[in-house]
């Protein structure tokens, strides 16, 4: 675990760059993390990010399957919004841990 400065604020991250303290997250940091992933966030992106954060606060484990059934975004669009590894990328931007989709 280490500390880095994102958008002017000190933030704790793990070796893969995921934030380890969600309380440190804010929208400016999210925007900056998205830029590092070569993404510009649209309102659709933000809706998905907010959904992920809500699920995280409710301690619901996240998976691609669950997101597909969430009614917020289907899996196809999720991939269009966050290409390649959408769940990982979106979780990183949202400031929540890498989804453990298991073991």
């Amino acid at each position: 675990m280490s500390e880095r400065i994102i958008a002017g604020a000190p933030v704790n991250v793990n070796e893969e760059g995921f934030m380890t303290d969600f309380r440190q997250w804010n929208q400016t940091i999210g925007t900056e993390l998205a830029r590092e992933a070569d993404l510009t966030l649209s309102p659709r992106h933000w809706q998905v990010i907010e959904y992920l954060q809500t699920e995280y606060r409710n301690e619901v484990p996240l998976s691609i399957r669950k997101i597909g059934k969430s009614g917020v975004v289907d899996i196809k669009e999720f991939y269009q919004l966050f290409p390649n590894a959408p769940l990982k990328t979106a979780a990183k931007i949202a400031g929540i841990p890498k989804p453990a989709s298991c073991i």
Binding site: K69, I75, C102
Partner: protein, 411 residues
């Protein structure tokens, strides 16, 4: 007379029947175990069957042989559990009332979850090896296959025995080398994970082995469909991987009885307290093995460690004592790496697999996260231990239910 009912006579249910039969007075408790099947499969053997290392008779025995006298084995199908009224409804219409229920209904493959997976190519050029029938059909295919693109594929997590697909790829490498046709086979490992395994140190060790064996890896691949006609798998991002022979691990789901009972999550796994193994919804229902939703591996070793802890908790529950929050997610898995070698991993909820020695700290004889012949001998010897000790609930000497930290090289 009170009744303890066990649903499922697989690895977990059979162990619980043996443990509890030993502890409970026959005057006070009737123990019944229900399973519609008549045969018990040694599931780790499904990995070896396709490569002609094991014969079918090595891995199949009658369920009845492992149920102790004094426990009633009911070989009928279950319609559903009615937890609010504490009975199990059988498909024949009987209602079996229970005081305590143990759910050990396991997990099954669900190839129908991916469009195009089931169809004309199923058991023709698309196979699973997580069922006896699938592993046997794949054995027959591999005996005559002349080579091409072999794709070993995981659909989505969680799956039983998360290392088995990797082991399959390693053993395939050895198998084709021994048949002097490795140069005619291209092996690709396709996974929804970001690497070979879920934990960083084991991933590094396993990816090194993949490279050494010239097995390509396609990670972060979330399959959308199988295009059986063009023999290609396609992910949601539009990425494609062509195959001549697809060996897939389909989506794993809990038993349909859990869905019919309204007791599961979106994959029919039962919400379970990860430390006590009590159902989150019903205090007199306990869950173990592959049927739970806990974030431990779905593996026989996990069921074995859970069974030791759950036995104690059920006895406490019967006495009205608080449950012990003891299960730590302990898993212990041999990973076949081909050429007569294997590595061993030992981990739990909080500690990832690391290097070290097992079971005796500093001594071994087994080495953690390192390939060795003795690990492979351990894996083969385990079949005997499974049939003769593990199912019968005999404690395996020196192997504790919770993970031990001594002998492991944590940073």
């Amino acid at each position: 007379m009170k009744r303890l009912l066990i649903l499922g006579a697989g690895t977990a249910g059979t162990m619980m029947a043996n443990h509890l039969h030993h502890h409970l007075s026959a005057d006070e408790w009737e123990i019944d175990i229900i399973d519609e099947e008549t045969e018990h499969y040694y599931q780790p053997g499904f990995l070896f069957l396709p490569f002609d290392i094991y014969e079918p008779e090595d891995i199949v025995k009658p369920i009845r042989q492992f149920i102790p006298a004094g426990v009633n084995l009911i070989q009928e199908s279950i319609d559903r559990i009615v937890p609010a009224e504490q009975y199990v409804l059988m498909q024949g219409g009987d209602r079996l009332r229970y005081d305590i229920l143990i759910v050990a209904t396991g997990a099954k493959i669900a190839p129908e979850e991916v469009p195009g997976m089931l169809g004309e190519e199923w058991k023709n050029s698309i196979f699973d090896f997580y069922t006896f029938e699938g592993a046997l059909a794949l054995r027959n295919k591999l005996r005559e296959w002349e080579g091409g693109k072999l794709v070993v594929h995981i659909t989505e997590m969680p799956i039983k025995c998360p290392v088995a697909p990797l082991e399959f790829a390693f053993l395939a490498d050895s198998f084709f080398k021994n048949k002097h046709m490795r140069d005619r086979v291209d092996i690709t490992f396709v996974t929804p994970l970001s690497g070979a395994f879920t934990k960083p140190k084991a991933t590094a060790a396993l990816e090194h082995l993949l490279e050494e064996k010239h097995i390509h890896i396609e990670s972060d691949f979330a399959i959308e469909q199988v295009d059986a006609e063009n023999k290609t798998i396609i992910d949601y991002g539009g990425r494609t991987v062509p195959f001549d022979l697809l060996v897939t691990v389909p989506t794993n789901k809990g038993d349909a009885v859990i869905e019919r009972s309204g007791m599961g999550d979106d994959l029919n796994f039962v919400p379970t307290n990860k430390a006590t193994l009590q159902s989150k919804d019903w205090p007199n229902i306990f869950v173990l093995g592959d049927a739970t939703n806990i974030a431990a591996s779905k593996a026989g070793s996990v069921a074995h460690f859970e069974a030791e802890i759950l036995t104690e908790n059920i006895l406490r529950f019967m006495d009205g004592q608080p449950l012990k929050e003891e299960f730590d997610g302990h898993a212990n898995c041999f990973v076949e790496t081909g050429n007569g070698k294997a590595l061993l991993i030992d981990f739990n909820y909080t500690h990832e697999p690391v290097e070290g020695t097992f079971p005796f700290p500093g001594v071994g004889p087994l080495r953690l996260l390192k390939e060795s012949r003795i690990n492979h001998m351990g894996k083969l010897a385990f079949r005997w231990i499974y049939w003769n000790m593990l199912l019968k609930g005999t404690h395996i000497p020196f192997v504790s239910a919770t993970m031990q930290e001594a002998g492991k090289d944590f940073d």
